[in-house]
Symmetry: C2
Subunit: 208 residues, 2 copies
Amino acid sequence: MSTDDKMYISYNNVHQLCQETADKIKAFNPDLIIAIGGGGFIPARMLRSFLKEEGKPTTRIYAIILSLYEDLNSVGTQTETVGVDVVRTQWIDYAQAGLDLVNKRVLIVDEVDDTRTTLHYAVSELKKDVVEQAKKQSADPSNTEFGIFVLHDKIKTKKAGLPKDIMDSRYFAARTVEDCWIAYPWESVDIVHHTARAMEQGNDVFLP
Amino acid sequence: MSTDDKMYISYNNVHQLCQETADKIKAFNPDLIIAIGGGGFIPARMLRSFLKEEGKPTTRIYAIILSLYEDLNSVGTQTETVGVDVVRTQWIDYAQAGLDLVNKRVLIVDEVDDTRTTLHYAVSELKKDVVEQAKKQSADPSNTEFGIFVLHDKIKTKKAGLPKDIMDSRYFAARTVEDCWIAYPWESVDIVHHTARAMEQGNDVFLP
């Protein structure tokens, strides 16, 4: 794939994708956000500003950091490698954080749903944590609801699935796109060029 | 302070502040980044792209999430409140993350050095962790070097200090600015207006 086949996304576009989707996410009304780092950090922080409501505390963001094995071995900046397995770089220490997921609405945020491997891993592992936490309280783990927000969902054969209840009503993708290389601005080493390409492609701000 | 007295910073400006400072940070050569969330997530992720070197693995980002007490009680989106005390929302679980800080060069990233309260807290607490980790290995905790990267350091009376060795040679502020209200783009609910103001103020991209 040549450089020109990439889909360039500007920062302001990412910001507005978060803004657009925030209204739908507000209907889900998440109690907390879990950002999957590195890619989910930026949209999670942007989104939080749009979820903010007068008189209510800011939605807290917790971070988990996951990598695909192949990314770790990659020497380039490519982040689109098809992942075989997921590595936990960082997870939530619930006791330290004073975080109880039981009965909560939890929004998981990442930048892209590519092969779905990372999202599948995050949901599965977080659900195990909920079961463990619920057990200690003799509570019902099924009252915890997970939702997902991504900037882009790629139309392609996914390597892993997500629970039906999430896909049916709590899966928020700002855009559904063809399977292509998405160039996010935070990966760019020439943001002027990057933004110019995003503008050409209509992936900058939505002018009134 | 009226709206117009704010210093508006665009995303592309933040990106280029990271790029500019990356060369100096490369001389420090951090083994890992610890981002202070929410504000440090975005610059940390941007910076990582500029620290990337061919043939070397990507610098890992770990996250700690700190809040000032008053921010948590605030009902607005203001993040410039003078903090009285720091709350740990999330910390690193070293055992789970397989992270050993002994003998490491650690870059702490936040968006702004305002009263210095948060940075002081982060450095002090991380140093305690190093002492504890070093003790278990009968190693020397003083071989761990901390550095700091912020987008903006405000010229004002700080409420807390930082160790001299950091301030002397490992404190990287992309810009030193007068004490004013800095409007970061991720706090904006109208990014078109925000970017226009940043452009007017010369806080957008540095055109060639």
